[in-house]
C-alpha cells in the first residue's frame, strides 16, 4: 500500500521533471524567436512586430545564456511556479485550476460511461464467445478505434444535436452539455475495454469455480453477477488504468470541438500559439491526472483482488 503510493509519487516527480525539461527544450527549439512568439501570442498576429518582441525579450530575460535559463526554469518548476501564460499573461497555475475542473467532470463522466458500456458489452460477448453479438461487438469496437474521435464527435453533433435536438451541440455549463463530449470519449475507451472484458469473461466462464458455482445450484444470473463480473473485471480495471492515456488525450480534441474550456482545449490552443508555459502546465496537469486516476485504479484492484490485499498487508 505505502509502497504502491510511493511508486506512484516517484512516477509523478519524474513526470514533473521530464515535462519541465521537454517544455524548456520546446521553448528553445521551436522555430522562431521565443520573444517573438510571446509577443505574437500577447498582442495578436496583426499587432505584433519586432519592436514589441524586443521589449518582451528584455522583460522576460530571454537574452541570458541557455543553461542559466534552464536552471531558472526548473527552479521555478520545483517551487511549482509555472510562470505566466504567454497568451493571456495570467498565471498558468490559476488558469489550470479553472480548466482542470471542467476536464475532471468530463473525464469522470466519460470514465463512468466507459465502465458501464465496455464491460457490459464485453461480458455478454464473453459469455457467448463466437456468437453474433460477439462478432458484431468486435466490428463495432474496431470501427470505433478506426474513426478519429473528432469524426465521432461531428457525427454525434449531427445526430443528437442537429437532427434529434436531444442535447446541445456545443458549449458548457450544464449536464446536457456534458453528454455528447463524454459519450465521444467513453465509446473510444469502451471499445477496447469491451474486448479485454470479453476475453477475461470467456476465461472466467471456462474456469472450474464458475462451473462449480452453477453446480451449487445458483442461477446463471447469480453466477455471472457474483463470480463472473467480479473476477473478469480485474484485468479490465488494470487495463483501464493504462487507457487513461487515451482518455486524457481524447480530451484534447473533444474539448476543442465541443468548445469545452478544459485543459485539453487549453493544450490545443497553447500548442497552436506555441504558448510553452501553458503547454507545460497542461501537460503537468494531465500527467498528474493520469497518476491520480491510476492510484484510484490501484486501490480498486486491491479492493477487487484479496490476494493483492493480503500480500500488501
Amino acid at each position: 500500500m505505502k509502497q504502491l503510493i510511493a511508486t506512484r509519487l516517484f512516477q509523478l516527480v519524474a513526470v514533473v521533471l521530464i515535462v519541465g525539461s521537454i517544455s524548456f527544450a520546446l521553448m528553445y527549439f521551436l522555430p522562431g524567436d521565443p520573444a517573438l512568439r510571446i509577443a505574437a501570442g500577447r498582442y495578436g498576429p496583426d499587432m505584433m512586430d519586432n519592436a514589441i518582441s524586443d521589449m518582451v525579450r528584455a522583460e522576460l530575460g530571454l537574452d541570458q545564456p541557455v543553461l542559466f535559463r534552464f536552471l531558472a526554469w526548473m527552479g521555478d518548476l520545483i517551487r511549482f511556479d509555472l510562470g505566466h501564460s504567454l497568451v493571456s499573461g495570467a498565471p498558468v497555475l490559476h488558469e489550470i485550476a479553472l480548466q482542470l475542473g471542467y476536464t475532471l467532470w468530463l473525464a469522470a463522466l466519460a470514465f463512468v460511461l466507459a465502465l458501464v458500456i465496455g464491460p457490459l458489452v464485453g461480458a455478454i460477448a464473453g459469455l457467448f464467445p463466437g456468437s453474433i453479438f460477439d462478432r458484431v461487438s468486435l466490428l463495432v469496437a474496431v470501427a470505433l478505434r478506426a474513426v478519429p474521435p473528432f469524426v465521432l464527435a461531428i457525427v454525434f453533433m449531427m445526430v443528437f444535436g442537429v437532427t434529434l435536438r436531444w442535447f446541445p451541440t456545443a458549449g458548457f455549463g450544464g449536464w446536457s452539455n456534458m453528454v455528447l463530449p463524454s459519450l465521444t470519449l467513453a465509446l473510444g475507451l469502451a471499445a477496447m475495454s469491451s474486448r479485454v472484458m470479453r476475453d477475461a469473461m470467456s476465461e472466467v466462464a471456462a474456469s472450474p469455480y464458475f462451473a462449480h458455482g452453477r453446480y451449487k445450484g445458483l442461477s446463471d444470473r447469480t453466477v455471472v453477477m457474483r463470480h463472473g463480473i467480479r473476477n473478469a473485471s480485474l484485468p479490465v480495471v488494470t487495463y483501464l488504468g493504462l487507457q487513461m492515456v487515451y482518455l486524457v488525450e481524447g480530451v484534447v480534441v473533444v474539448e476543442s470541438i465541443f468548445a469545452f474550456p478544459g485543459i485539453g482545449h487549453a493544450l490545443v490552443h497553447a500548442i497552436i500559439a506555441r504558448d510553452v508555459p501553458m503547454v507545460q502546465g497542461t501537460a503537468l496537469a494531465m500527467g498528474g491526472l493520469f497518476v491520480l486516476l491510476n492510484i484510484i485504479v490501484d486501490l480498486m484492484c486491491l479492493r477487487l483482488d484479496p490476494r493483492l490485499g493480503r500480500r500488501a498487508a
Binding site: 512516477q11 519524474a14 517544455s23 478506426a146 473528432f150 466462464a205 503547454v279 501537460a283
Partner: protein, 280 residues
C-alpha cells in the same frame, strides 16, 4: 453458455495434431489485408490519375461518377488516386511506427522479465513515466525539429506506443518462463535461444500481433488527430489521417468522401485484428 469443457473426453478422441493456423476468421483477415495491400501498392499503378492534380471544374463530385468512380475532393482531386497513395503512405508509415515501437518494446519486455532485479524495476519505472507523459508533448518536441515532416511525427508516436508492447511482453514472458517446461528444456541442455525461440516467442506471437494491429491503427488515428489541431499538417501530400481532417468541413456536401479514408483505416485494423486471432 456451455461451461463444461471436453476435458473428460478420452484423450484418444482429442485432436492430437496442431490446430490448423488457417481458421476461417484468419482467412477472412488475410483476404482483406491482401486486398488492402494490393489497393495501396498496386493501385497507384492501375489508377493513372495524379493525386495532386486539381480540377476546379469537378469539385466534390459524388462517388459513382464515370470519370471519378470514387468521386473527387474539395480541389477536384481524384479520391481514388488520393486514397491509394494515401493508403500507401499511411500503411508504410504506420507499419514503420508500429515496428519501431514493437521491436524495442518486446525486446525490453523480454529483457526485464528474464533479468528481473533492478533491470526490471528500472524499465518498469521508465515505462510508467512515459505513460504518464502526454504523448502529444513528445510528438511536439520532435515536430519542433522538423516541422511539417511525417518522419518525426511517427517517431514521436513510437516513443510512447512502445510501452504497451513492453508491458504485455514482460508479463507474458515472466509467466512463460515460470512454466516447468522451460526448466525442463534447460535441463535437457538447450540454450536460452532455444527457450526463447520455441517457448517464449510463440507464446508472445498472438498478443503481440494484436497489439501491433492496434498500434498501426492508433498511429494513423493519432496523425489525423494531430492534423486536426494543425500539428504536422503538410498539404498536399495524401495521408489517410490528414485526408479525414481536410475533408471534414465538407461533411454535409460529401459525407462519403470523409468516410472513405476512415473506412480504409477500419479495414486495415480489422484485417490485422482478425489475422492476429481471438485475443484483443
Amino acid at each position: 453458455m456451455n461451461t463444461a469443457s471436453l476435458t473428460h473426453l478420452p484423450v484418444e478422441l482429442r485432436d492430437g495434431a496442431k490446430p490448423a493456423f488457417w481458421q476461417p476468421v484468419r482467412i477472412v483477415g488475410a483476404v482483406i489485408l491482401l486486398a488492402l495491400l494490393a489497393f495501396a501498392f498496386v493501385g497507384p499503378l492501375v489508377i493513372g490519375a495524379d493525386p495532386l492534380f486539381q480540377d476546379y471544374l469537378a469539385v466534390l463530385v459524388a462517388p459513382g461518377d464515370p470519370a471519378h468512380w470514387l468521386g473527387t475532393d474539395h480541389f477536384g482531386r481524384s479520391m481514388a488516386a488520393r486514397l491509394v497513395h494515401g493508403a500507401q503512405l499511411s500503411f508504410v508509415m504506420a507499419f514503420v511506427t508500429a515496428l519501431s515501437a514493437a521491436v524495442p518494446g518486446i525486446a525490453l519486455g523480454i529483457l526485464a522479465a528474464s533479468r528481473g532485479g533492478w533491470v526490471e524495476r528500472g524499465l518498469v519505472a521508465l515505462s510508467d513515466i512515459v505513460l504518464a507523459l502526454p504523448g502529444l508533448l513528445l510528438v511536439l518536441l520532435l515536430m519542433a525539429f522538423a516541422p511539417g515532416k511525417f518522419g518525426p511525427l511517427y517517431l514521436g508516436l513510437a516513443l510512447y506506443l512502445w510501452v504497451e508492447f513492453f508491458r504485455v511482453a514482460r508479463i507474458e514472458t515472466a509467466r512463460v518462463l515460470a512454466l516447468p517446461c522451460c526448466e525442463a528444456t534447460r535441463l535437457l541442455g538447450f540454450g536460452p535461444f532455444y527457450v526463447f525461440g520455441r517457448i517464449v516467442l510463440p507464446a508472445l506471437a498472438g498478443p503481440m500481433m494484436t497489439l501491433f494491429a492496434f498500434a498501426m491503427g492508433s498511429a494513423i488515428i493519432a496523425v489525423s488527430t494531430l492534423s486536426a489541431i494543425h500539428v504536422g499538417l503538410r498539404p498536399p501530400t495524401p495521408e489517410l489521417g490528414a485526408m479525414i481532417v481536410e475533408l471534414m468541413p465538407y461533411y454535409s456536401e460529401a459525407p462519403l468522401q470523409v468516410l472513405m479514408p476512415a473506412g480504409v483505416i477500419f479495414l486495415l485494423v480489422l484485417s490485422l485484428q482478425l489475422l492476429a486471432g481471438r485475443k484483443s
